[in-house]
């Protein structure tokens, strides 16, 4: 059971003034700032976002400038991370790759929320037959292996970055919907809802003023934890050659291409895998930090 109050039992409440100044967000920010791993995560995520925005200034070469004469060159002063099999600068491709990864992570979660929030709200608030139908749909989609479902959808839609994001979003909405429903079901039983009913608040008012705001923190946490999962899924699909097409610089695609050259040109595999690993770690630390800061239980 998580409690919404931030005061530990036995901790003295100094003044009424101090109590009033504490807000959910303020508390969360204070707790977040005390968590070293969370700050590391915040740093990595900020760096990634800045890299994606300013990629044109950071990357020394365009991501698709092939130069067959200088193909497969080891890291040097000019090409920090070497060049790939058609002579493209690996460092520039990794810099531009942050755009793809972030677009996938944010795009997938946006689609997941667009589908998942309304359905989760209906299931959690309306209950009855609507709830039953929505949850059975969720169950059916969960029973299909995620990779197969994503591939089936990509095959139906056709490949390309946008369709990959759409397909992964359709796979990811299940979690958002289930989480929101579970949150609403447990919040409905809380004392503050009873209190609101006692003073005569309408059902709609309780839903909007009391239930939803309390379900927002867990949703934010779920989204930050879902971003690296989506990035991983895109990297995996592109690694298999089924996601984003060349010349778009997807880290997963770069790792997949590197396999045939690994015996000699080791650097082709090292740098994109490091980029994936750092991104995953950054978002995970950030997400875990947010979860601890908002004091959200992940078991729900």
């Amino acid at each position: 059971m998580t409690t919404s109050t931030s005061l530990a039992p036995g901790q003295p409440v100094n003044t009424q003034q101090e109590l009033r100044q504490r807000t959910l967000l303020g508390d969360a920010a204070r707790r977040f700032a005390r968590n070293k791993l969370a700050l590391v995560g915040l740093f990595i995520v900020t760096a990634l976002i800045l890299t994606a925005i300013f990629a044109d200034f950071i990357a020394p070469f365009p991501y698709d400038a092939a130069d067959p004469v200088n193909a497969l060159q080891f890291p040097s002063r000019e090409h920090w991370m070497g060049t790939d099999e058609v002579g493209r600068d690996v460092y520039s491709r990794i810099v531009y790759g942050t755009r793809i990864s972030l677009a996938v992570g944010l795009g997938v979660m946006a689609i997941a929320l667009i589908i998942g929030i309304p359905l989760g709200l209906i299931a959690g608030l309306a209950g009855g037959p609507l709830d039953y139908i929505i949850m059975r749909v969720v169950e059916v989609f969960t029973a299909i292996p995620a990779l197969m479902l994503a591939l089936l959808l990509i095959s139906v839609f056709g490949g390309g970055l946008y369709n990959v994001i759409l397909a992964l979003g359709i796979v990811a909405w299940l979690d958002a919907c289930r989480l929101l429903r579970a949150q609403l079901l447990s919040l409905r039983e809380r004392d503050f809802v009873l209190a609101a009913q006692t003073v005569g608040a309408s059902k709609v008012r309780i839903a909007i003023r009391h239930l939803l705001p309390n379900a927002v923190a867990p949703l934010i946490v779920a989204v930050t934890i879902g971003i690296p999962v989506a990035i991983f899924a895109e990297a995996g699909l592109s690694f298999l050659g089924l996601g984003v097409n060349d010349p778009i610089p997807s880290w997963g695609k770069m790792v997949g291409n590197s396999l045939s050259y690994m015996r000699v040109y080791w650097y082709l595999g090292v740098f994109p895998t490091l980029a994936i690993a750092f991104t995953m770690l950054g978002f995970t630390f950030f997400g875990d930090g947010l979860r601890d800061a908002f004091d959200v239980s992940t078991n729900s």
Binding site: A143, L151, F232, L240, L259, M262, M280, L281
Partner: protein
């Protein structure tokens, strides 16, 4: 118990029926068919013959009823991508390879994870605890194909201790098993640690200490037994994914397992294979879930299946 299991079984059948219809429609919604010109160069007459032979010229409803009817009698058809064998034969040939990797990974992951978790919990907030936690965070976060690439680069390319991949000798197991075991090991370690710390605060542990048991006795006889119960829920869902084959690991290490068919069957519009794989995964999931439910009643006498806690 029997009534509960029967109810569960009926529920699984209904969900599977709907899933099979959804996937059947989805896979037929994919543009192109198994005998299109981009896959095999065939004359229109030969293509028509193949379509007739495998019933692909019939209405979708008829195709579905036909396939499911045959499947219930144990005939899953012929994989279009490998027409000289049956779907059953293909799965019987490749699944044991994937399953042996998966089970080997579990055999490595669970004991190591338990050990890491116990060390971290008993030496809470020491460098050992931090090292164990860092290992499990890395294991849970870094994707297994990234780990696999690093393993190949280090042990095959740089140190030349192991071949880059292949299958048939015992040493071919080493790198795929390590890459597969890392995530479940990390998960086990993390949950063991939290669970032990939680149980250690309970009253019966205080009682055990009060009656003078040694720390080791308390750990093995009281804490661990109770701390391991939630692990069943955590590890259960990991098992189906591990034993039905991981395409990333199998393609990096060139393991001839089942994993790649999850992708090639869809790319090749291999309808019988898609349906068979789906059925296989559904059955494995249901079996694993049933086993975890039953295991619960064995390790935790407080749990009774089919009775709601009122």
């Amino acid at each position: 118990m029997a009534r509960y299991l029967l109810g569960r079984f009926a529920g699984i059948l209904i969900v599977f029926f709907i899933v099979s219809v959804v996937v059947f429609l989805l896979m037929h919604a994919i543009p192109g068919g198994p005998y299109n010109e981009d896959k095999v160069p065939l004359s229109p007459e030969a293509k028509a013959n193949y379509m007739r032979k495998y019933g692909l010229d019939r209405p979708l409803v008829e195709q579905y009823v036909l396939y499911m009817g045959n499947a219930l009698r144990g005939d899953f058809g012929v994989p279009f991508q490998s027409p000289t064998e049956t779907v059953t034969g293909l799965i019987a040939r490749t699944w044991p390879v994937s399953a042996s990797l998966g089970f080997a990974a579990l055999l490595v992951a669970i004991p190591l994870g338990l050990l890491l978790g116990i060390i971290a919990a008993t030496r809470q907030n020491t460098w050992l605890d931090y090292a164990a936690s860092a290992t499990s965070t890395l294991g849970l976060t870094v994707p297994n194909f990234v780990v696999a690439v690093w393993l190949v680069l280090l042990f095959a390319v740089q140190l030349k201790w192991l071949p880059t991949g292949g299958w048939g000798e015992w040493y071919h197991y080493i790198m795929p098993v390590v890459a597969l075991a890392l995530a479940p090991m990390a998960l086990t370690a993390r949950y063991t640690r939290t669970s032990i710390l939680e149980v250690s605060r309970s009253d019966f542990i205080r009682t055990a200490r009060a009656k003078g048991l040694s720390g080791r006795q308390i750990m093995t006889r009281h804490t661990l037994r109770n701390a391991l119960i939630p692990l069943i829920t955590v590890l259960g869902p990991q098992i189906p994914n591990l034993i039905t084959g991981t395409i990333f690991i199998e393609s990096i290490f060139r393991v001839p397992g089942l994993g790649k068919f999850f992708v090639t069957s869809i790319l090749g519009r291999d309808y019988p294979m898609i349906m068979a794989l789906l059925l296989l995964v559904a059955v494995v999931w249901s079996v694993v879930y049933l086993i975890t439910d039953i295991l619960y009643t064995i390790v935790d006498p407080r749990v009774r299946l089919g009775k709601s806690k009122s």
